[in-house]
Amino acid sequence: MSDTSPPASRRVLVVDDNAINRRLAMAFVKRLGFATEEVEDGAAALDKLAASPFDVVFLDISMPGMSGEEVLARLRADPRFGGLHVIAYTAHALPEEKQRLIDAGFDDLLIKPISLKSVEIALADFMQA
């Protein structure tokens, strides 16, 4: 993906049922200059993504209803989201858990607890050079 657009034009959707963690992520993302929106479950995320274009999705895994992996599977199955950068935003930090997520097809992992630094690294590709 080319990196010519200013961060503000980049849109990051944060999906997390935990409101605190959702807002934190949004706060970090905004601070890094990205536009951001939030939804609290997978179904809403799919609706949101279908409704308007996003560059990156921070996708929590353990959510009521549709899990993050299910959402990813739907996104990956849908050609409309071919260029979408999906980052697992999760507290599943055990090595086998992380491996499972990579195997599932996530583009990157953002393990909780996050820091400004970790978010910056996760979004490095989308920041202005």
Binding site: N18, I20, N21, L24, A27, F28, R31, S62, T90, A91, H92, A93, L94, P95, E97, I111, K112, P113, I114, S115, L116
Partner: protein, 851 residues
């Protein structure tokens, strides 16, 4: 394969054992029984045969003995009878001859004139018998009687008329028939010879003697010029008697045996039987030998010899004594059949033949010369005679009589051809009978012997004729001897007939025995065959039964074994609930029950271990789930704490508030460290820590580690140094992340607890291991605490300060990780001087990758 298993398996072995212990004895038994039966059969058959043979042999021997005895008895009786006949005949001849002595003495008293002499002769006649006319048979193969000739059977006494007392063995014969009787003058001539030898008176009868008066002192004037009696007469004294030998013209024959056209032709002569010698049935029309025996005695007148009276006896009267004798049941015959060998004949005192059915055998004289015709010689003697060139009489005078007589000598065939075959025993060297007769009669006796002659077993007898007048008084033999030849077989024909009958009976019995024996053999054979059949059948049946039983038993036993094996196989394959059937109470049943008990135990323990494993797995899973859940649930709130505190630090402007936010962040960070360490420890304990071994460059590792902690050390004004030994390998095989974790922990602690001085990381080689020393100049650790510091949540109280912020898990985790990497973590320290933590690792990496 299946078959091989079947054969080689227990089944096959069991069957083989059965066959060996049952079938073989059975076969042996059958074989023995068969052999015994056969032997019995053989023995019975052989003994029956032997019994039959010995019975037959006994019968045969008895028959032979009886026959032999009968033959001997008959022969003895016959011999006795014939000998008797011979001696009687000889005596009769002698009596007859003595009567002629009387005649001549009476004749000497007769006035020598013709009338007186005729009167004298007229009363002196005797009967001779002549057979009737014979002729050649139509086929010319034999001579036959022209008319009926023989006994008149009607004249025999009727046995049926015998009184009962006499009826047993009543034997009657008709009058003996010996031919047609003819009254014949005894003498063919009566003469008176004066002292000068001239015949003065002579009366003849018949045609034999010349009627003319002759001077008999001259031999040529005598009968057939052969008489030489004048010199003897002159020596006679008063009352002395001269008796001549038999003198007659020899009648020869060139055929010996039946004189028939065929035999004449064979002899190369014209068939003229009348011209050849008479020979009984062999030539009944032949020329008869005509001879005389002359008696003479001086005639006295006034005591002075005035002449001699002579009587010539017709030789036929002498022959009459023997010509009709037949040493057979017929006793007498009108005509002799010489060829059958049963006839009587006579010899003079010199052993010359004077009476024979074959006239050519009677020695005689040549009427032309008056010389004796050469008798039949054996071939050797004949050749010697021929070689001598002498007249036969002169030659024979110098020959030893009876010289080596033997049947092996051959008669002179030239004489047969010449027809001169008169028998003079002295020179008849191919006839040993001659010597026998001479031997028997030499001293006047008689006897017999048997000789196999001309193809017949012949008894021959001889009896001296006791007539000793004149020259005959010179030997005890007298006039000569009568002989009778008899075919022995004829004597004992009855015995041989019965012997033949016995033989026949024996043969029949033998055949019967043979048949019975064969039948017996057949019976035994069929019995044996039956026995063999039954034996074979029953043996086969038993063998089959035994084999069936063997197979059944083998099946029975092995079925249980194989079902057991199957059961074991199923059990082994995992069917732990499978149990063997253990219905029987024998060892097999016990084995099955034992197995089942074992199976119960095994299944139970399997179940227990399976349960335990399941529980352990469950527990482990729960633990893992718990860890994961714990981690997740702790990190989720920590995310907010750390994130917002960091955010606050950035966004707050009041330094005091910034500090508060920093404190919150530090506490959260500490909490996160605890969580991470706990998770690691938990993983190690759960055996879920996975190593990722890789080749690691040691210098690079050390540089990275020092680099990572430099800032921290500088922050506390500590010197952070490193020292690498020269003999280090370039590479180390281990899990780099975990090695870093351990050494980071050690370096972190060293820097954290050291206020002044230095911290050093030193790498050296100890054998095949590497040692990482982290040395500090901190406060040191008392020895009693060296082990404690590696325990979880234990820290030395005096070192625990809020500033240090340790989790209490670091060293415990480091040691666990060291162990995981196949290494050791140890400490040495002096309080007040510092501590050295040493990690040793195998250069080659963990020996066994932990699961």
């Amino acid at each position: 394969m299946q078959f091989k298993r079947w054969v080689m398996g227990i089944r096959g072995k069991l069957i083989a054992i059965f066959v060996v212990i049952k079938v073989l004895p059975l076969l042996v038994l059958a074989l023995v029984a068969w052999t015994m039966a056969q032997r019995l059969g053989d023995t019975v058959s052989r003994q029956a045969g032997a019994m039959a043979d010995s019975m037959l042999e006994t019968i045969r021997q008895m028959g032979d003995a009886a026959t032999g005895d009968a033959i001997k008895a008959l022969d003895d009786r016959a011999r006795e009878g014939i000998e008797r006949l011979t001696t009687d005949t000889a005596r009769a001849v002698a009596v007859f001859l003595y009567d002629r002595d009387s005649d001549i003495l009476q004749a000497a008293q007769v006035e020598p004139d013709e009338a007186a002499y005729r009167r004298f002769l007229a009363h002196r006649s005797r009967t001779v018998h002549r057979h009737g006319a014979w002729r050649l048979s139509d086929d010319q193969s034999r001579w036959e009687s022209a008319g009926p000739e023989g006994w008149d059977e009607a004249l025999a006494a009727e046995a049926g008329q015998a009184l009962p007392d006499n009826a047993k063995a009543f034997s009657a014969r008709p009058p003996e028939y010996i031919g047609v009787p003819e009254q014949r003058p005894l003498f063919v001539e009566m003469s008176f010879i004066d002292t000068s030898g001239r015949e003065r008176v002579k009366i003849t009868t018949g045609e034999l003697m010349p009627r003319a008066l002759r001077d008999v002192s001259r031999p040529e004037n005598t009968f057939i010029k052969a008489e030489r009696y004048w010199p003897a007469l002159q020596k006679l004294k008063a009352g002395e008697i001269y008796v001549s030998e038999v003198i007659g013209a020899y009648v020869g024959s060139r055929v010996i045996g039946p004189y028939l056209p065929a035999s004449a032709k064979k002899a190369g002569i014209e068939f003229k039987p009348e011209a050849s010698a008479y020979a009984g049935t062999e030539n009944p029309v032949g020329q008869r030998f005509r001879g005389i025996v002359r008696w003479a005695t001086p005639v006295l007148r006034g005591g002075r010899i005035v002449g001699y009276v002579s009587l010539a006896l017709d030789h036929d009267h002498i022959r009459e004594f023997t010509d009709h004798l037949s040493p057979t049941d017929s006793r007498y015959t009108a005509i002799n059949d010489a060829i059958v060998g049963n006839y009587a004949f006579m010899w003079d005192h010199r052993s010359r033949n004077i009476s024979h059915p074959r006239d050519y055998f009677i020695v005689g004289y040549d009427p032309d010369t008056g010389q004796q015709v050469t008798p039949w010689l054996d071939q050797g003697l004949y050749e010697a005679w021929q070689a001598s060139g002498k007249p036969s009489e002169a030659f024979l005078a110098g020959v030893t009589p009876f010289d080596g007589q033997s049947l092996k000598k051959k008669p002179a065939t030239a004489q047969v051809k010449a027809g001169t075959v008169g028998l003079d025993c002295r020179y008849l060297n191919f006839s040993p009978q001659c010597a026998g007769w001479k031997q028997l009669t030499e001293q006047g006796g008689s006897g017999s012997f048997a000789i196999f002659f001309s193809g017949l077993d012949k008894l021959t007898t001889a009896a001296a004729i006791p007539y000793y007048t004149g020259q005959y008084g010179h030997s005890r033999r007298g006039f000569g001897f009568v002989t009778i030849g008899a075919n022995v077989d004829d004597f004992h024909r009855a015995a041989t007939e019965s012997a033949k009958r016995i033989g026949q009976a024996i043969t029949e019995t033998d055949e019967e025995f043979q048949q019975k024996r064969e039948a017996l053999r057949g019976d035994i054979g069929s019995n044996l065959a039956q026995t063999a059949g039954a034996l074979t059948f029953s043996t086969l049946v038993m063998v089959v039964l035994v084999i069936i039983v063997a197979i059944w038993m083998a099946q029975f036993i092995t079925r249980r074994i194989t079902s057991m094996i199957d059961g074991l196989g199923r059990f082994q394959a995992g069917d732990l609930s499978h149990r063997l059937q253990a219905r029987s109470n024998d060892e097999m049943g016990e084995l099955a029950r034992s197995f089942n008990r074992m199976a119960d135990t095994v299944q139970e323990s399997f179940k227990r271990s399976e349960d335990g494993r399941a529980r352990a797995e469950e527990a482990n899973k729960l633990k893992s789930d718990f860890l994961a859940s714990m981690s997740h649930e702790l990190r989720t709130p920590l995310n907010g704490i750390l994130g917002y505190s960091e955010l606050l630090q950035v966004e707050l402007e009041d330094p005091a508030q910034q500090e508060y936010a920093a404190s919150i962040h530090t506490s959260g960070q500490h909490l996160l460290d605890i969580v991470n360490d706990l998770l690691d420890l938990a993983k190690i304990e759960a055996g879920r820590m996975e190593l990722k071994p890789a080749e690691l460059e040691i210098s690079r590792l050390v540089a990275d580690l020092i680099g990572a902690h430099r800032a921290h050390a500088q922050g506390k004004s500590l010197a952070l140094t490193c020292a690498l030994a020269d003999d280090l390998p370039a590479q180390l095989s281990t899990d780099p992340q975990r090695l870093r974790q351990i050494i980071n922990n050690l370096l972190n602690n060293a820097i954290k607890f050291t206020e002044n001085g230095e911290v050093e990381l030193k790498v050296r080689r100890v054998g095949d291991r590497l040692a990482f020393d982290v040395r500090d100049s901190g406060p040191g650790i008392p020895p009693e605490a060296w082990s404690v510091i590696f325990e979880k949540f234990r820290q030395l109280d005096q070192f625990i300060t809020r500033d240090h912020g340790g989790t209490g898990l670091g060293l415990a985790l480091a040691r666990e990780l060291a162990h995981l990497l196949g290494g050791e973590l140890s400490v040495e320290s002096r309080v007040g001087e510092g501590s050295t933590f040493t990690l040793t690792l195998p250069v080659a990496g963990p020996s066994t990758p932990p699961t």
